[in-house]
């Protein structure tokens, strides 16, 4: 006899409980396991219909006795959403079942509404915080979610007469995307965004933008349009830098290649452990003292490790090379007629100083081909080239280099050419200081047809 109570009710099967249909599936389980009978189920249904009726009366201002079924469906979905929220907040299914059995539909609904309202209020404060700490970035998706998307979600939530679930779709991806929908999902996303802002703010804005620029260039999009998470760009490069034994976010192509050579031979477990260890090392050294951010970084690092394993240790899609190589698209201007070209060539030849020659070139020529023809025309004497090049801007020098048959070994240029201006150009560039040369070479590398 004593054991009959235990035998009477079998346990609720967690597999049978659907997240999006929590109350309905829980009720079914309760009936199946004997925790509730059909009488209770009918009673529950009647209470639901009463609540629905009261909402319909409110929506119609008591002036209609019927509504389209779609409206009733929407309201019922909202009721279910609130009751689901209330019941899901309890720690165990058994407690949820007990509460469902003991509380009225009205009180469950009010409990759920109250919990959702708390999310709504928290979103207002979080949005304000996220905006106050926003990154100065050209990325439009990032700015849009702060200025339009999240405010719209919150506004819509506040103005809706009854709480409703909704899909949270935004223009900016997060490093760790929450699964939640509705206002709870907005809350989680804003929390995540605030954490990401906090992390990225540790690094110079130019560096973060440089990563964005590098990503955009590599994917042939603009920084404004790139659909990428800035925190992810920073964290991935940071972890890779840490693997190189240093701090910072910048990474060159050579460095990436070296890292790949080390990562590829590792097993997935080893790579995952390496990334995990590196992340913990960073957290220990940085002493963030902000557990939520630390947890977020750990989760993002775990995702990174999984992606790295999926890529077999290849880093092309999981890192950004910097400084960002800006793509240069050259569209040649209008060429001069032969007679006009001859006049300009003569004028350049007769000009007394390099400065005057450059002024004539800048004012008369619109085409790179005309420039190279003029440089090869004999209008400029051997000892004048260096003076001329000193007055050219980096883009012009890079463009001239791009039409020269140069070979680059490390940072040194070599050329085999009969054209005096090309040889002089290479000689001039090789004598330049490293930083200036690097800038010109960067433009040269990014020049595309």
């Amino acid at each position: 006899m004593a054991n009959s109570e235990i035998l009477k009710h079998s346990a609720i099967d967690p597999e049978a409980i659907e997240d999006k249909q929590f109350t309905a599936s829980l009720l079914q389980e309760m009936v199946r396991t004997g925790l509730a009978d059909q009488t209770f189920a009918d009673f529950f249904q009647n209470q639901l219909l009463e609540l629905l009726n009261s909402q319909l009366k409110k929506i119609t201002n008591n002036k209609s006795s019927s509504v389209p079924v779609e409206l009733a469906d929407d309201l019922m979905d909202g009721i279910a959403y609130c009751i689901d929220t209330a019941l899901k907040s309890l720690p165990t299914l058994e407690e949820s079942a007990a509460t469902l059995h003991s509380q009225s539909v009205q009180s469950l609904y009010e409990l759920g509404t109250e919990q959702l309202d708390k999310h709504g209020k928290a979103c207002v404060a979080l949005l304000s915080r996220a905006r106050a700490t926003r990154l100065k970035t050209a990325n439009q998706g990032y700015q849009l979610v702060l200025d339009v998307t999240f405010p719209d979600f919150i506004r819509s939530w506040k103005t809706n007469p009854f709480p409703h679930d909704f899909e949270v779709i935004t223009e900016y991806p997060l490093a760790v995307e929450p699964a939640e929908s509705g206002i709870a999902g907005v809350h989680k996303r804003l929390s995540a965004l605030a954490l990401e802002n906090r992390f990225c703010a540790r690094y110079p804005q130019e560096t973060v933008e440089s990563l964005l620029g590098g990503y955009a260039d590599a994917h042939r999009v603009t920084a404004a349009d790139a659909y990428i998470n800035l925190f992810t760009l920073c964290l991935q490069n940071l972890l890779l830098n840490k693997l190189l034994g240093r701090d910072g976010l910048l990474l060159t192509e050579d460095e990436r290649t070296r890292l790949e050579q080390k990562l590829r031979p590792l097993s997935p477990c080893q790579r995952a452990e390496l990334i995990r260890y590196t992340a913990e090392l960073f957290l220990k050294e940085s002493a963030l003292e902000y557990p939520k951010l630390e947890d977020y970084i750990r989760r993002a690092a775990l995702d990174f490790a999984n992606l790295l394993n999926s890529a077999g240790g290849t880093l092309v899609e999981l890192s950004v090379i910097t400084p960002a190589a800006r793509s240069l698209v050259h569209t040649d201007g209008e060429r001069l007629e032969d007679d006009a070209f001859a006049l300009v060539a003569e004028e350049v030849m007769l000009a007394e100083t390099a400065k005057e020659k450059v002024q004539i070139l800048q004012s008369e020529l619109r085409s790179l081909e005309d420039l190279t023809d003029l440089l090869a025309s004999g209008s400029i004497f051997e000892d004048e080239f260096e003076q001329l090049y000193a007055l050219f801007d980096p883009v012009t020098l890079a463009m001239l280099l791009s039409v020269s048959p140069v070979t680059l070994t490390g940072q040194t240029l070599t050329i085999q050419t009969d054209l005096e201006w090309q040889a002089a150009l290479v000689s001039y560039l090789n004598q330049m200081d490293e930083q200036q040369k690097a800038e010109i070479l960067s433009i040269y590398h990014s020049a595309v047809e």
Binding site: Q21, A24, L49, L52, K57, T60, S66, P68
Partner: protein
């Protein structure tokens, strides 16, 4: 969609027993005009109501509308004891049609008032004419936001309502006097 919504898919929107009792109670008033509904009439009317609600995709709650229609029309000079139940059936269908086609912008009382005015007035008891009138009102509300079209417009009815409004065929251009536009069941889009 929540599975709880399946609760709404039951046979009726209001418990039928309640509707039938409520309808039978109207006999206390209608009998003064020589009109009564039998049990059979009431069962049939509730069935017709349920079918109309299903047909127009509607859910009824609260007190329902059948008894209000009965009380509104029982004193009509155009309703007799032979025709009372049948007329109520037609009125029920027309009521829900008007509610749907006016995009929920007409409260119940207004729909019933307009139906009664037209039925007892210009339509002289003709249900066919009443249908045309209510259809026109619903159209005007959809398109103009008011029961009557703006005075500047001619009263050509150019919408496709399935009714013959007169000898003139619908004219696409005059349908949108303020500019070109298009309309579906729910929205009217006007381009100026």
């Amino acid at each position: 969609m929540s599975n709880l919504t399946s609760l709404l898919r039951g046979e009726n929107n209001l418990p039928s027993r309640r509707s039938m009792d409520s309808l039978l109670q109207t006999n206390e008033i209608s009998s003064q005009y020589g009109l009564t509904l039998t049990q059979q009439d009431v069962v049939k009317l509730v069935q017709i109501r349920n079918e109309a609600l299903r047909g127009y995709g509607r859910l009824e709650f609260g007190a329902g509308v059948l008894n209000r229609l009965a009380l509104a029309f029982c004193d009509s000079p155009y309703v007799s004891s032979d025709t009372y139940a049948d007329i109520l059936a037609e009125l029920t269908e027309l009521f829900y049609q008007t509610k749907s086609e006016s995009l929920e912008r007409m409260p119940d009382d207004l729909v019933i008032d307009r139906m009664k005015e037209a039925f007892n007035g210009a339509c002289e008891g003709s249900l066919k004419s009443l249908a045309i009138v209510m259809d026109t009102i619903a159209y005007n509300i959809r398109v103009y936001g008011t029961e009557t079209a703006p005075e500047a417009e001619e009263t050509e009815h150019t919408h496709d309502c399935g009714h013959d409004h007169g000898p003139d065929e619908s004219d696409e251009e005059s349908e949108f006097s303020f500019g070109e536009g298009e309309e579906d069941g729910n929205w009217r889009t006007v381009r100026f």
